[in-house]
Amino acid sequence: MSKAMSRHQDAQTIPVSFTLNGRLQEIDVEPHELLLDVVRERLGLTGVKRSCDVEVCGACTLLVDGRPVSACTTLAFEVRGRSVLTIEGLATNGKLHPLQDAFIEYGGFQCGFCTPGMILAAKALLDENPNPTEEELKHFMHGNICRCTGYKKIIESIMAAAKKMRGAS
């Protein structure tokens, strides 16, 4: 346990009960603990990344009740009673989500560091707008940065996944 996570004797703790990737999760947190640290360091789900740390790049995107948030700047207690989805919870019964399939098929990543955030943000978009125009997609996704600049392939991947998902429903 890192120094930052060690408990003071008089530390205030908040019991947090929430759904993590479909399963009930109960954990005590201190007020200052960030969702990103709790998910990565205490719960061991390292798909979510710390990068810019100022809500600009989207590498720490998680879905809370289906909507994207920056886990780097979200206090962990805020997920009380809510549902959190990380990239680890996207595949069901060992079957990849159509977005994951499409990113593989269309080469929607290079180094892969932005990919969990990209895919989760794209899921939030397609859940509310299954048939986005390219402009709508760019507007929604402009806060997710790919430092390798692989945007063309990312857009192709999301559009292909959208088409596949519309066909399946």
Partner: protein
């Protein structure tokens, strides 16, 4: 890394105000946290306590009340993007909200938090000045309304008293034959220049009746620019259009632009003029 703090979770405005009164500068109201937590993570500010205001009910609605649009201070930018009341009565604010920062910031950041933090590179303050909004500030046992143009004192500083809580924003429903436009310029997430124009036409649509102009982002705090308004008010639309370059340079000078990473003072002053011209034409076209 955030330092330890204690969390208070009051359930009424009175309790929030009392906590602020009791703990003074060692406590801060916390809503979406999109700006406050960044400053705390950087170590620029430190608080022993955060007062989570989100458990106070009734502060997250948009409704029509006595000819005004009343926006609860806890409404998130995303809620405002979707609000049917705003879409119907103040679509220019919806457009502004759709373009605040990014989708994650809009999801949790609140309008009240945005105003109270008074970060200079923010959109809503400038807009609210042009549409003649008032801000509702409450204490344990009192309540007052503050004109948007008097709310901002300096960068990161408002006229709220230590134990006052911003609970809502009131915007008059725009009159018939009126238009509102907010335009901004910038790259990355934060705007470096913002200009808002709200106007009403008189004389069968031939002259500019009431007009309000505000500039923001370029300097320490958003400002209403009455000297620029005076060059356009009461003029025929043609004459007003001819006066736009002059109004633009007056507004540019009033913006108190500073030279920084986003551009030089002269550059920002020029952009104010360009945006003022476009915002005027956009507002005019809505009338």
């Amino acid at each position: 890394m955030l330092r330890r703090f204690r969390l208070e979770e009051p359930e009424s405005v009175r309790e929030v105000s009392e906590l602020l009164g009791r703990f003074g500068e060692s406590a801060k109201v916390y809503a979406g946290g999109t700006e406050l937590l960044l400053a705390m993570k950087e170590g620029l500010v430190q608080y022993e306590r955060l007062i989570n205001i989100k458990r106070v009910s009734g502060l997250d609605e948009v409704k029509l009340e006595n000819g005004a649009i009343k926006i609860g201070a806890l409404c998130t930018h995303h809620q405002l993007e979707l609000s049917p009341v705003l879409r119907q009565n103040l679509p220019a604010l919806v457009k502004l909200e759709e373009n605040v920062a990014n989708v994650r910031v809009r999801q949790v950041g609140t309008l009240g938090g945005n105003l109270c933090f008074a970060e200079p590179h923010a959109d809503p303050g400038t807009f609210l000045m042009a549409v003649g909004a008032t801000l509702i500030a409450e204490k344990s046992a009192s309540k007052r309304e503050i004109a948007a143009e008097r709310f901002f004192v300096d960068a990161y500083e408002t006229c709220l008293e230590a134990d006052e809580v911003l609970t809502g924003i009131k915007v008059p429903v725009p009159a018939p034959r009126s238009g509102v436009a907010y335009l901004k310029f910038g790259y990355l997430e934060r705007p470096s220049v913002g200009v808002a124009v709200a106007l009403t036409l008189n004389g069968g649509g031939k002259s500019v009746g009431d007009i309000k102009i505000a500039v923001g982002c370029a300097g320490p705090a958003p400002k209403r620019v009455e000297e620029a308004e005076a060059l356009l008010k009461g003029k025929s639309t043609d004459e007003a259009t001819q006066n736009l370059p002059k109004a633009g340079s007056v507004a540019g000078a009033a913006a108190q632009a500073i030279s920084d990473l986003h551009g030089s003072q002269e550059y920002k002053e020029h952009i104010v003029g360009v945006l003022l011209k476009r915002a005027f034409q956009s507002a005019l076209s809505q009338c």
